[in-house]
Symmetry: C2
Subunit: 349 residues, 2 copies
DNA sequence: TGACATAAAGTTAACGGTAACGCAACGCTC
DNA sequence: GAGCGTTGCGTTACCGTTAACTTTATGTCA
């Protein structure tokens, strides 16, 4: 019971410290953790006691290097602003917890060069799996991920070439639904407004879906009021003023995000345009505030929580050798105060 | 140039694969990465070429095990909902990038048992530093962090016992400022409303600050309308109805967060109470929508971006051996439409 | 030209675990 | 009581990289 086996302070205790203290081999201590039923209960208790006393924390770098799994899940997102993906990460992280998988986070901020750098960086930790936003990546990213051999779950979007597995929603369909909703509510001259980064393919797909719905209805072409910068409420204000200055006939605005829509509503109020009678607005994303602005914002609610959860399930399944698969998650269109109610006369009568 | 040195597919290339291909020792390849000026430029080029061709990705598990640093920064937050800390993480992650430090994320969801588990888990990766929300932790967490010897930056809050270093704001002062603002605008019977988890010491400090400002002004005691659950707009609605049913004399509501305040504004509208004339509301957090609800929400804006940035700076400084320190970040009170304007007659005479 | 510093590589030994294998002690069967 | 499977533990090798030494080639100066 002397302190001879203690490490000089500075370096944390190792399995060997425990082994010496208990008087067994290193491997027995390792087994007590990894395959407890192969170690006598009495010995197991002594080992546990020693670990507790020494405040032993296993070194998973060593474990990952030696063993086959590393217990790291790389998560690559394109943005952390405005909860866009925070709740996906939240659900994902929490679901991975019970399998003892740790999230390593990277944020590309919609920069494809960063994406390459960050994916390479994530892979250098030999993750058990990688979850990444989007299905459209720089060629080098796809190459790195494919050749790494780790399971890859692409999130948020689906369709096109999937590297391995995917969990997401149909963005083109969502954009089409936004436009169809506006058309059904009697708006005829529509615009698509918001942030549209060069590499935000989801936004492009929604815009495309909206444009085709407009075309299918035989209405004038969808007007685009977009800019390559982050979606903020102030951007919505600016774009609305620009849009209505040049296209005063617009009577419906399809927004690329709720935060942008907040600014749109404010700009319309300033210009004296009545929402929803004079002009309609629909958002995307169902921000926590969408139901609390005036008027309340009609929007599309993607099931972010479900995406995170399903991604976690899929990661575990893939690690356990199950086959790749693609899950499509539903979204819901929430009709609220910023678009006119359905006219019974137009609808059922 | 045969394929003899290639690894059988399945296991990714290692330094040794590169070494064999170029015809040098493993160490030379390592040096080409780590201390390039000790390797002949010509040889360096060959090595770089081989790495590129084989799609070499270094194994940082091995690097971390062997070397002294691990390049991982553990980040422990209490919530990911509603952007509360997402923008801190965003700023932090992006600032750490240039020092090649990788964020490993954990979310306690305000559960102290989870906090112990997660901190232990983070430490098992032998991080170069740990950034964690709050200065009040379970004893075991403080013990683990202290005995681990890694630099620890406590974020968001300051004051009390700091483990190592801290970057945060004065929450008691912010709560006091919320109350002082309400008092200055002529509200006299104040309530503090919102989510208050048992372990959210920042919320407690703000409530305490508000209560002492009310007491100092000689006004009736601050009424508390709080619940131990996540802050959502719906919670604000419910609590407002409960509060005004039992305390109809209340004329000012200090909210613990903006998202809760959104619900408060809605409930007040439903009850026919005029904001800001009849009753005032102030939020906390400056949510992206705060300036876009009706009326626009007076609130306190913490500089989350600065906190993330400063935390990154501090982490790098501590890794480089600089002394621990505590940085206090400013907040700003934004007076908007949900509180009455200052009455000149009361103010300047 | 020999002594000596310097540059550029190679050798060797960790880092802290895990996994495969080996071996003794024990109980069971016939 | 010999044969054999099982339980419980120790031995040994290895994961991929870095750091500390050592060695060899090259240049410099008295």
């Amino acid at each position: 019971m002397s302190g001879a086996e203690e490490r000089e302070k500075g370096s944390p205790p190792t399995l060997a410290s425990i082994a010496v203290r208990v008087g067994v081999s290193v491997n027995t201590v390792s087994r007590a953790l990894r395959a407890p039923n192969t170690v006598r209960p009495e010995l197991r208790r002594q080992i546990a006691k020693a670990m507790d006393e020494l405040n032993y924390v296993p070194n998973r770098l060593a474990g990952g290097l030696s063993g086959t799994r590393s217990d790291i899940v790389g998560v690559v997102v394109t943005s952390l602003y405005y909860s866009e993906f925070a709740s996906i990460i939240d659900a994902l992280q929490s679901a991975l917890l019970k399998d003892n998988l740790q999230v390593m986070l990277a944020n590309t901020r919609y920069d494809p060069d960063q994406e390459v750098t960050l994916v390479r960086s994530i892979l250098s930790w030999r993750p058990a799996a990688v979850a990444i936003i989007g299905v459209d990546h720089p060629a080098k990213v796809s190459e790195l991920l494919t050749s790494s051999g780790v399971p890859v779950i692409e999130m948020w979007d689906v369709g096109g070439d999937i590297i391995d597995s995917a969990v997401g929603m149909d963005h083109e369909g969502a954009g089409k639904a936004q436009a169809d909703h506006m058309i059904a509510r009697g708006y005829r001259r529509l615009a698509f407004l918001g942030s549209m980064r060069e590499n935000d393919m989801r936004a492009r797909k929604r815009a495309h879906g909206a444009a085709s719905a407009v075309a299918a209805a035989g209405l004038p072409d969808l007007v685009h009021a977009v800019r390559q910068e982050a979606g903020r409420p102030a951007l919505g204000e600016e774009l609305t003023h620009e849009l209505l200055d040049s296209n005063p006939q617009i009577d419906g605005i399809i927004c690329n995000s709720d935060v942008v829509a907040f600014g749109v509503l404010k700009a319309l109020h300033e210009r004296g345009r009545k929402v929803p009678d004079d002009i309609g607005v629909i958002g995307f994303g169902d921000s926590e505030a969408a139901n609390y602005v005036t008027p309340s914002l009609s929007t599309v609610r993607p099931d972010r929580h479900r995406i995170g959860e399903l991604t976690a399930e899929l990661i575990v399944a893939r690690i356990n050798g199950e086959e790749p698969r693609t899950n499509v998650v539903d979204w819901e269109l929430l009709a609220r105060g910023s678009t006119r109610p359905l006219l019974k006369s137009l609808n059922g009568g």
